[in-house]
Point group: C2
Chain length 358, copies 2
């Protein structure tokens, strides 16, 4: 796979981590992921959500393994999932080992809450034996108490110190199939932490995320700012957008961020204006209807839906297909040329017909 550029900065040259057929880092496209919120004990519900996440565009999906009773169900999910499954483990190293034995492609642990280095080593050895990657997941909300207690360190410095200690331990044990995250809910902390991680541990693929980012509206903004800034600097090999919402809703946000920076492309882009006192058609419902109808379309095309004659013809001409509206009608553009004039009530239908014919 080719290395990518992102708004200028070359992507950081990290080591690849391998999760079955999916590679994180080492120049691979930025991997999109999310996490199920169903009870893992319910294999059918969890598998249905894994499939919905994969269909929405997740390259890998994380599933929590909260207790031993959920292991058989977790194993069924791994066996039937269309994408590699990541086990989310907290506190109990035996669950991490069980996940490795059950077909997880990656184990997500926070070594700081596993209890001892011996237990962490047991997880590393199980991962090595079963060909799993490990994500070292440091989190501001559950920092290693020994690091948290160090005086004179800022939160980003604590997150980095904890991360460096863990990565060194894994590498010293000869295990390098790792991905690293160090999440905080604060955007500035997130940006500063990941910049420092990329500097201090340039070899390690980084999993980007803002934890506890909040509800859909506020969370989308926080994720887009933090991940956008980092990705624009070439930092980040996989990302998970966290929203307090159905996890399937996280996936288009992740793709939107990657698409905005030209890092990956999935489906159409709509260029539509904010409307103003010059607009003489009812543009908002037209643009929303076009967006809704394009949801099932995979073609990486640009579609302009413009309200007036100031910027409309220019933008519509630049898109693969577009309309520039006037009073009660619109000019239809295709590949830079005016095709014909259409009436306001036929805009959506005619546009969709032309898109299908492309």
């Amino acid at each position: 796979m080719k290395a990518q550029e992102s708004g200028g900065a070359p992507r950081a040259a990290t080591r690849p981590a391998q999760l079955g057929s999916v590679q994180i880092g080492g120049g691979a496209p930025v991997v999109v992921q999310s996490m199920t919120c169903t009870p893992t004990e319910d294999a059918a519900a969890t598998l249905a959500q894994v499939r919905a996440l994969a269909a929405a565009g997740c390259d890998i999906v994380r599933v929590t393994l909260p207790n031993a009773a959920a292991v058989p169900s977790f194993a069924r999910v791994c066996a039937k999932s269309p994408v590699p499954v990541v086990a989310d483990i907290h506190f109990d190293y035996r669950l991490a080992i069980a996940a490795a034995e059950s077909g997880a492609a990656k184990l997500r642990i926070n070594p700081g809450n596993i209890g001892s280095w011996d237990k962490v080593d047991a997880v590393i050895d199980a991962a090595g034996e079963h060909g799993c990657a490990i994500r070292i997941g440091v989190n501001a909300g559950s920092l290693d108490p020994a690091v948290d207690a160090r005086e004179g360190l800022t939160l980003p410095e604590k997150l980095v110190a904890s991360s460096v200690e863990f990565v060194r331990h894994f590498e010293n044990r000869g295990f390098s199939n790792i991905v690293l995250s160090a999440k905080a809910h604060d955007v500035v902390t997130t940006i500063e932490t990941y910049r420092a991680l990329s500097r201090e541990l340039p070899q390690v693929p980084l999993h980007l995320g803002v934890t506890e980012a909040g509800t859909r509206e506020q969370g989308t903004i926080k994720n887009a700012v933090a991940l956008g800034v980092l990705l624009s600097e070439g930092i980040g090999d996989t990302l998970r957008v966290s929203l307090t919402a159905d996890p399937v809703e996280e996936v288009p946000v992740a793709w939107g961020i990657l698409q905005a920076l030209g890092l990956r492309r999935r489906g159409p882009e709509i260029i539509s204006c904010p409307t103003c006192g010059r607009t003489q058609v009812d543009l908002i419902p037209i643009a929303e209807e076009v967006e809704r109808r394009l949801r099932g379309v995979d073609k990486p095309i640009s579609v302009a839906v413009m309200g007036c004659v100031v910027n409309g013809p220019g933008e519509a001409r630049g898109a693969d297909i577009g309309v520039a509206c006037g009073r009660g009608s619109a000019l239809l553009f295709k590949k830079g040329e005016v095709v014909r004039k259409i009436s306001e009530d036929a805009i959506v239908e005619e546009l969709m017909r032309e898109i299908e014919a492309l």
Copy 2:
């Protein structure tokens, strides 16, 4: 006003532009703005929208002046607006002069579509006489044809070339009360263009925006990525988030971007987790209800609404106030201390009561 820092980078030291009581650039806080979409001829409807935008957090509001018939109504809007009004002018320099005479605090023109330098100069002189600022608004959708035709230039280079030419003209005429924008619908083009503008014209306050960014969901992401990257580099003195939606909805997105980067603060921040297979309360409606009820609250507090025992207590302890949920109940935290245990159905009420008491 004090210069601000934004996630590390110091803000670019631009010259101040003055719009009545509001200053853009020169170290002032980043100014939030939007634009009405009512017919300007309808002064009552336009004023109502100006007031709604100001109440939502706009420091200034732009209103289009599309024709001479709208001038009296525009003047009434200027006279009664609670915030400085910016006139949006296209094509006809006489409308720009009429706007200056009618009480506009700033004129937004694209010198490339005004027709001649003589006409631009007439606008500059009217602005000087009436104490208006001018925004030079270059737009990829309506580039000066002479610049657009130049061979071998990328779109960002064309936008910058056009901008530099206009700014030089204004400054040579002794007029420096200017703000500059050069908008494109593409995020990477936007980032590259504004970085170059900040380098080439470091003295000029910059108005950030992604034009034709699309509908609410996609537009929020594109704006947050582009404006987030630029603001994190210290670039940008005022911003307008463009969405194909009610303009009042643009304002919280603008504030969300500024708040994420610690540049300005308005109202509460909610820290809520994405839920997962560990969550044992119905968290999404709880977080959404808390967000809805906090909409009217102006206190700059942080409120944590967390679903489980892994990161919940840490995050709830770090916030001004918060809950960490368990099975059917939650621990209430205030300023880092556990206050009491509350039952699931009382979480929202108890949290709101404590917030009001803060």
